[in-house]
Amino acid sequence: MNAFETYSDETLLRLTMAGNEEAFTRLYQRLRDVVYRFARQMSGSANVAEDVTQEVFLILLRKAELYDPNRGALSTYLVQITRNEIFRRLGRDRALVSLDEDDWEEDLSPDENLIVKSDPLGNLVRNEEIESVRQAVLALPLHYREVVVLCDLEEMSYTEAAALLGCAVGTVRSRLHRARALLKERLRMSETVEHDSLRLNRASCLG
């Protein structure tokens, strides 16, 4: 077994800072998935995810000394940077919009500009149901979307997600409940639309 495989993330980062290329390679290979997947699920775009992943690791290279192991795992730190990057890219147009819980409670139609559509080729290849779930997740307001991505898609515990987002466990829990209610609503709506269009198609074929 390669010695690098046994090293902790923190040790690999220290070696990386000292100029060890293999340590950086291992560190990247170990942590790229969590960064890329979070970016992918939050943005809905492979291009954005790729860009953000690159940016996150460049930031790590530039400012590795800012990481404090006492404040959490390196993977958590990287997801926080990823989250900031995603918010910077997706949320920059609504910097003045309130993120208060109540303001979004009845909001079933979030800003369409914040939804990054998947690539058309991907839509063709992917399972239709998965695609509709993906679109429903992407249609969620950002602060609901991130708890779904972290807790339901990345299977983090409420405690882990709360530490990452810098909020209370109860906030994560309530946001997840609300987000899932919105998801069900949206999926029901899209199923109804699909059902109606199928019925119309059949009617036009028969008529």
């Binding site: 992918r40 790729e50 299977e155």
Partner: protein, 253 residues
Amino acid sequence: MSCQGFETIIVEVARGRLMDAATRERGLAHAETCPQCAALLAEERALSGKLRALSAAAEEEEIPARLETALLAAFRQRDAAPALKPARGVSLANRRWLLAAAALVLLTFGLSLAGWVLSSSKQESAVANSTPPEPVAATSAGTPEKFTQAKPQVAIVTPPSRPTPDAKRWKRPARLPRAGDAEPREIVTQFFPVIQGRELIPLESGQIIRVRMPRSNLIPLGIPYSQERADETIRADVLVSNDGLARAIRLVY
């Protein structure tokens, strides 16, 4: 358990994440006796199943290998730049001596600066006392007379909250250099040739010019970029040879 109580734990039951086994059992027992809650639980479970499918699909996605290549290139560039290398080979004792020496230098410089400012103020007040008093100078919010005399009109019309440029210059001596003032660390890629397939005079010397350009300009150079960021600009270093031709370009992050 009541329907209301069940609703508060339904998501955790559906996700199979409820830590308290007893509460979970009570919830499931309630769902068996309540058709409405059973239907709600079925809905939540269906949603969890769909989300798991989405998660599994995401795990199958391959991260492009070019990302690792690009990052490794950036890492090598960073390592090659001496300014970015962390200090190595300096013992703790030596570091303490260096810190002490740096502190001494800063203290000496600070004291000299303070002395210079004080002596300059005395000289100025001496000059002010030797010249006849001017009404404008007296009302110019503490602006040294030397400057207000040169521009009495300006001193009258300028509100006190916005001092004249001269006054600003006088009041704010040059800030001492600090450790954080250094240029932020930057990472550069390798140089990409700009001109290909042409007979060129061998490059003997040239100049590197820092520019900012739209990301879309990367297309003709064959450098991959994200189309979604085409409208953003990127910093780059252009290597210009003595014949005035741009020979190569590298990106700066």
